[in-house]
C-alpha cells in the first residue's frame, strides 16, 4: 500500500496535490485497492463549480459504483480524458496518470485542513 507523501488526503479517500492555487485530485491507493478493477469513471464537465465534500464524479469497479468527493471547493478546470479510454489507470497509477480532475480552488486554505500522508495512513489502518 502506497501513501504518497506529496499529497494530502480526506477520509473519503480522495487526495489533492497542490500547484499554486490549482489542485490535482484523485483517489488513494487504498481506495483503488478496495474497489478492485476500475471499469468506468464518470467525470464532470469542465467549468463545473464544486463545494468541498460534494460528489463530483463516480468511479465504477467490477464490484460497485462509488461517489468521488471534492477535497476542496472551486472550479473544475481540467478532467483526465485518458480515463475514458483506460479506466484501469486508476488502479495502475492512482497518484499519477490515474488522476481525475484539476480544481482551481476558491478557498486554497481548505488544503491545510486535509490529512497528511502519515495521518491518512493511521486513519486507514484504524478502519
Amino acid at each position: 500500500m502506497t501513501y504518497d507523501p506529496d499529497v494530502k488526503y480526506q477520509k473519503s479517500h480522495e487526495w489533492a496535490r497542490k500547484d499554486g492555487s490549482l489542485f490535482t485530485v484523485g483517489i488513494s491507493d487504498y481506495a483503488q485497492d478496495s474497489l478492485g478493477d476500475v471499469v468506468f469513471v464518470e467525470l464532470p464537465e469542465k467549468g463545473k463549480v464544486v463545494q468541498k465534500g460534494e460528489a463530483f464524479g463516480v468511479v465504477e469497479s467490477v464490484k460497485a459504483a462509488s461517489d468521488v468527493y471534492a477535497p476542496l471547493s472551486g472550479t473544475i478546470v481540467e478532467v483526465n480524458t485518458k480515463l475514458k479510454e483506460d479506466p484501469a489507470l486508476v488502479n495502475k497509477e492512482p497518484f499519477g496518470a490515474g488522476w481525475f480532475v484539476k480544481i482551481q480552488a476558491s478557498n486554497p486554505t481548505e488544503y491545510d485542513q486535509l490529512l497528511s500522508a502519515t495521518e491518512y495512513e493511521a486513519f486507514v489502518k484504524g478502519l
Binding site: D37, F40, V62, K63
Partner: protein, 389 residues
C-alpha cells in the same frame, strides 16, 4: 458464515473474501477479476466451487423419481453422462437450475446452487417421503468441488490424472464424467520417494462440464483432499509451463454471462418460469414433470416479460436492479445482470423486459443514477462457447 475446505488456501493466495450465499468466498485474487477472466479464456483458471450443494439420490425407482421432479429427460441419459435441468414448483416457478450426473442405473449425483441447497434438499426429501425406497444423501461436506476451465485445462489435467486402472486418463466427451486419480505425474520424484501411491493420488469424480464457456472440468475430490488437488493443479501447471491461476467469483460471473448462462437469483427465481427465462430447451414436454402444466399454459398465454441481453451504446455501467425504460421514459423492465464483459470489451447485461422489446436490434434505456442511457438488445450468446462447433 460457512467456509470451504480451501479457505486457508485462498487467504494464502491473497484473495479478497466476501459473503456469498452464506459462504465466505474468494471474490478475486491479486490479479483482479478482469485478468482472471482473460486467463480462463486464454489458458486456464481454477475456481473453488465447493460452496455449491451436492446430493446423491439412489435406491429402487430413483431414476423415475428424479425424472418426474426434473424438467430434463433422464431415462435416456447413459451412465457416465450428465445433463442440465431445471427444478420447478407445481406453478412453474423455478426452484433451481442444476446438473445431474448418472452414476448408475438407479444412482444420481446432483449439483445445485449454494443459495438453494437447503431448500432443494427439503424439496427432494418431501417428494421422496411419498416413495419410501428413495434415499437422498447430502454430500456437500463429504466432497469438495473445484472447476478447472480454459483451453489448456485438459492438456494439463491429462498429465496428472490416471483412470482407475492406473493408466493414463482419456477425458470423456462434453458432459461425460469418470472416476479418476489425480496426483503428481507418474515417475516424478514424489512418486519414487517413500510415499505410497495412495497418499500422492486422490480419487475424484471428474465431469467435463463447466460454467465459463470454455472447455474444462469440474472435479469432486473428497472434502479433505480438495486442497491437495488444488495445489497439485497449480504447481503442475507452473512446472509444465501452462499458464494457470486461481479465479474468483467476480470472474466467474462475467465468464458465465458472456456465453449466456443463467445465474439463480438473477436470471432465475421462483417468480419466473422457463418461458420468461428462455429455458424451454431444458424442458422435455414429451414426459411428465412437476410444473409441466403450468409452463405449458404460460407458453400458450405468452409471457408478460422476457429475458433480453443488451449491450450499452453509451458508456455507462448497468447493474442488477436498475430500471429499464423506453424512449419516452416509461418503465418496461429491470436489469438482472449488468457488468463489464471483458472478452467483448463492452458494458452489457440481461434484463427482463416486455416481450416485444426482447428482440435483437431493439433499443432500451437503462436508468443509471437518474440518467437514461441507451442500450441495444443483442442476440445471445455474446460469446460462443469454445466447445460448441
Amino acid at each position: 458464515m460457512k467456509r470451504t475446505v480451501l479457505y486457508d488456501t485462498h487467504l494464502s493466495l491473497g484473495a479478497k473474501m466476501a459473503p456469498f450465499a452464506g459462504w465466505e468466498m474468494p471474490i478475486q485474487y491479486p490479479a483482479g477479476p478482469i485478468e482472471e477472466h482473460r486467463l480462463v479464456r486464454r489458458s486456464a483458471g481454477l475456481f473453488d466451487t465447493s460452496h455449491m450443494g451436492r446430493f446423491r439420490v439412489y435406491g429402487p425407482g430413483a431414476t423415475q423419481f428424479l425424472d418426474k421432479l426434473l424438467t430434463a429427460r433422464l431415462s435416456d441419459l447413459f451412465v457416465g453422462f450428465s445433463r442440465y435441468s431445471l427444478l420447478l414448483r407445481e406453478d412453474g416457478g423455478i426452484l433451481d437450475d442444476l446438473f445431474v450426473y448418472r452414476l448408475g442405473e438407479e444412482e444420481w449425483f446432483i449439483v445445485v446452487n449454494a443459495s438453494n441447497t437447503e431448500k432443494n434438499f427439503a424439496w427432494f426429501q418431501q417428494w421422496a417421503s411419498k416413495e419410501g425406497t428413495i434415499q437422498i444423501e447430502d454430500l456437500s461436506f463429504r466432497f469438495g468441488m473445484v472447476a478447472f476451465q480454459g483451453p489448456r485445462a485438459l492438456e494439463l489435467l491429462t498429465q496428472i490424472t490416471e483412470n482407475e486402472k492406473g493408466e493414463r486418463w482419456t477425458p470423456p466427451e462434453r458432459f461425460g464424467w469418470s472416476w479418476v486419480r489425480i496426483g503428481k505425474p507418474k515417475g516424478s520424484l514424489a512418486d519414487r520417494a517413500n510415499h505410497s501411491d495412495a497418499s500422492t493420488k486422490v480419487r475424484c469424480l471428474v465431469g467435463r462440464t463447466g460454467y465459463t464457456g470454455e472447455d474444462g472440468v469440474e472435479i469432486f475430490p473428497p472434502w479433505d483432499r480438495t486442497p491437495f488437488v488444488w495445489e497439485t493443479i497449480l504447481s503442475s501447471a507452473s512446472k509444465m509451463g501452462i499458464e494457470a491461476g486461481p479465479a474468483g467469483l467476480a470472474a466467474r460471473d462475467s465468464l458465465r454471462f458472456e456465453p449466456g448462462f443463467a445465474l439463480y437469483g438473477h436470471e432465475l427465481s421462483e417468480d419466473i418460469t422457463p418461458v420468461e427465462a428462455s429455458l424451454l430447451w431444458a424442458c422435455d414436454f414429451e414426459k411428465p414433470f412437476v410444473g409441466r402444466e403450468a409452463v405449458s399454459n404460460r407458453k400458450e398465454q405468452g409471457p408478460k416479460e422476457k429475458l433480453a441481453t443488451f449491450v450499452m451504446e453509451e458508456p455507462a455501467v448497468p447493474r442488477a436492479g436498475y430500471p429499464v425504460t423506453d424512449e419516452a421514459g416509461t418503465t418496461v423492465g429491470r436489469v438482472v445482470t449488468g457488468l463489464y464483459a471483458p472478452t467483448i470489451d463492452a458494458f452489457a447485461g440481461n434484463a427482463f423486459v416486455l416481450p416485444d422489446l426482447a428482440i435483437s436490434g431493439k433499443t432500451l434505456y437503462i436508468v443509471i443514477r437518474g440518467a437514461r442511457k441507451k442500450a441495444r438488445v443483442v442476440k445471445r450468446p455474446l460469446y460462443k462457447p469454445a466447445y460448441r462447433a
